[in-house]
Symmetry: C2
Subunit: 260 residues, 2 copies
C-alpha cells in the first residue's frame, strides 16, 4: 500500500509544484520508489522532472476522462532513479468541465490508482500536484489520497485561503473519503530578512503545531532556476539551501509515517 499525499492549496504560487517534485526527488534519492501525478494543466511538475508533455503524449487526462490505465501513461524521470511521473498535457485544462457529467466523477483517479496497485505494481509514495483551485481535479486528488500536504508561502494572502481549504477538506472527508486528513504543512519561500515571513510562520505554527514540519524552505534562486533545465533542485544544486531543506522535509515526512 503506497502512502498517497495530495499537495494542495488553492492559493496560487505557494510552492505546490516545487514542493511536490523536490520532496519526491529527495525520497527517490533515498531509495524509495515514488510516483508524481501531475494534475495541473500547466504541467509544471512534468517540466521539472524532464518529461515532455506536449499534446500527443499519453497523460493523466486520458486516465481520468477515457479510463486509460495509469501505468500506460507513467514515464521515468530522466534525472533521478526510482522517480516516475504521470504527466499532464494541455487537454487537462478542459477536464474539469468534462468531468462534471461523467459517472463517479470524483473518484476516477482513486480507481485508476487502485487498478494499478491490483496489477502488483508497487510504489512507496505517490505525490499528487494540484492546480491552484478547488475544482474537480483537486477533488479527485483528495479522494485518491488519505493525506493532504499543504505548502504555505510565508506571505499574508497565504493565510486567507487556509480556512476555505480546510472546509473543503472536511466536506470531502465527510462525504467522499473518511480517512482524509491534513498530515503535513510546509512553510515555503521563507525570507529571514522580513518580519512578514516570521509573523506568518509563527501564526501557522501556533494553529497547526502537529502538522507543520520543523523544516522551513528558504527563498533561494537556485530552486527557481532548476526547472528551466528540466531538473529538480536536488540534482541541479544539491548543496543549495533549498535542496538541503527539501532533503530534511522529505526525511521528516518519511520518519513521521502517515500519522492518522
Amino acid at each position: 500500500q503506497p502512502r498517497i499525499l495530495t499537495v494542495a492549496n488553492q492559493k496560487g504560487g505557494v510552492g505546490k509544484t516545487t514542493t511536490t517534485v523536490n520532496v519526491a526527488a529527495a525520497m527517490a534519492q533515498g531509495g524509495l520508489t515514488v510516483l508524481v501525478v501531475d494534475l495541473d494543466p500547466q504541467g509544471n511538475a512534468s517540466t521539472a522532472l524532464g518529461i515532455d508533455h506536449h499534446a500527443d503524449v499519453p497523460s493523466i487526462y486520458d486516465v481520468l476522462v477515457d479510463g486509460t490505465p495509469l501505468l500506460d501513461v507513467v514515464q521515468p524521470c530522466t534525472t533521478v532513479e526510482n522517480l516516475f511521473c504521470a504527466p499532464a498535457t494541455i487537454d487537462l485544462a478542459g477536464a474539469e468541465i468534462e468531468l462534471v457529467s461523467l459517472v463517479a466523477r470524483e473518484s476516477r483517479l482513486q480507481k485508476a490508482i487502485a487498478e494499478a496497485e491490483a496489477t502488483g505494481h508497487a510504489y512507496d509514495y505517490i505525490l499528487i500536484d494540484c492546480p491552484p483551485s478547488l475544482g474537480l481535479l483537486t477533488v479527485n486528488a483528495m479522494v485518491a489520497a488519505s493525506e493532504v500536504f499543504i505548502p504555505i508561502q510565508c506571505e499574508y494572502y497565504a493565510l486567507e485561503g487556509l480556512s476555505q481549504l480546510l472546509k473543503n477538506i472536511e466536506l470531502i472527508r465527510a462525504h467522499l473519503n473518511p480517512p482524509l486528513h491534513v498530515s503535513t504543512i510546509l512553510l515555503t519561500m521563507y525570507d529571514g530578512r522580513t518580519r512578514l515571513s516570521a509573523q506568518v510562520a509563527d501564526e501557522v505554527r501556533e494553529h497547526f503545531p502537529q502538522q507543520v514540519l520543523r523544516t522551513t524552505v528558504p527563498r533561494s534562486v537556485r530552486v527557481s532556476e532548476a526547472p528551466s533545465f528540466g531538473e529538480t533542485v536536488m540534482t541541479y544544486d544539491p548543496t543549495s539551501s533549498g535542496a538541503l531543506a527539501y532533503l530534511e522535509a522529505a526525511s521528516e515526512i518519511a520518519d513521521r509515517g502517515a500519522g492518522i
Copy 2:
C-alpha cells in the same frame, strides 16, 4: 464607455491581485473613477481594498448566478477616493460548476456591466481580478472586457503557461468577443540580483515588444505587507519602489489608450 481590462494569468501567484489593486489605486489617486471586480473566490482583492467579504456580504456571486444588479454589490474602497470594489465571497468557489448549466453562462458579467452603464453610472476604468485558472469565471471576465492585462512574474514557470493563455484568448476572441486583445503585459517581482529575472524579462520583451510596459515592478516586501493592513501599497508606503513602479505602470496604461 469605461475601459475594461481583465487581469488574467492561469499561473498562480504571479501578481494578478497585487497588480489589479495597485494599478486601480494609482489611477483613482490620479482622479479617475475606477471599479475593481473581484472574481477570485479567495477574495484577495477585496481584502487589499479594505472591503469585508464574509459570506453574507452581497457579492459578485449574486450578480453572476442570481442576476443581482452590479451596483447593488459595489462598495467604496476605505483608503482611496474614486475607487470602488465588487467583492468576492466564498460562495464564488462553487460558481464555476453552477454557471455550467445556466443560460448565457459566458456573458453574465458582460450583461451586468452593460446594465450598470445603462443606468447612467460612469466608471473610467474597470479592472477585473481573475482566479488562477481558465474556467468560466475567467471566461466571463474575458467576454466582459476588450483588453487583457497579463502580469508575468520573472520566473521560469511563468513563460510555460503563456502559450496556453494566448490560445484561450484567441478562442474567446473568435467565438465570444471579437474586440478582445492583449493590450498590456507587466513584468512583476523582478529581482535585479538574479540572472533568471533578466532572462525572463528579455524573453518577454522580445516576444511582446508592443504590449510589455516599460515599467517593471521590483520585488519589494512593502508590497506584500500592505494587504495585511487592508491597504494597497499606494497608501501603505507611497514612496516604496513597488508603489512608484505601480504609479508609473498606471500612467503608462492610461497614456497608451486602449490600443486596439
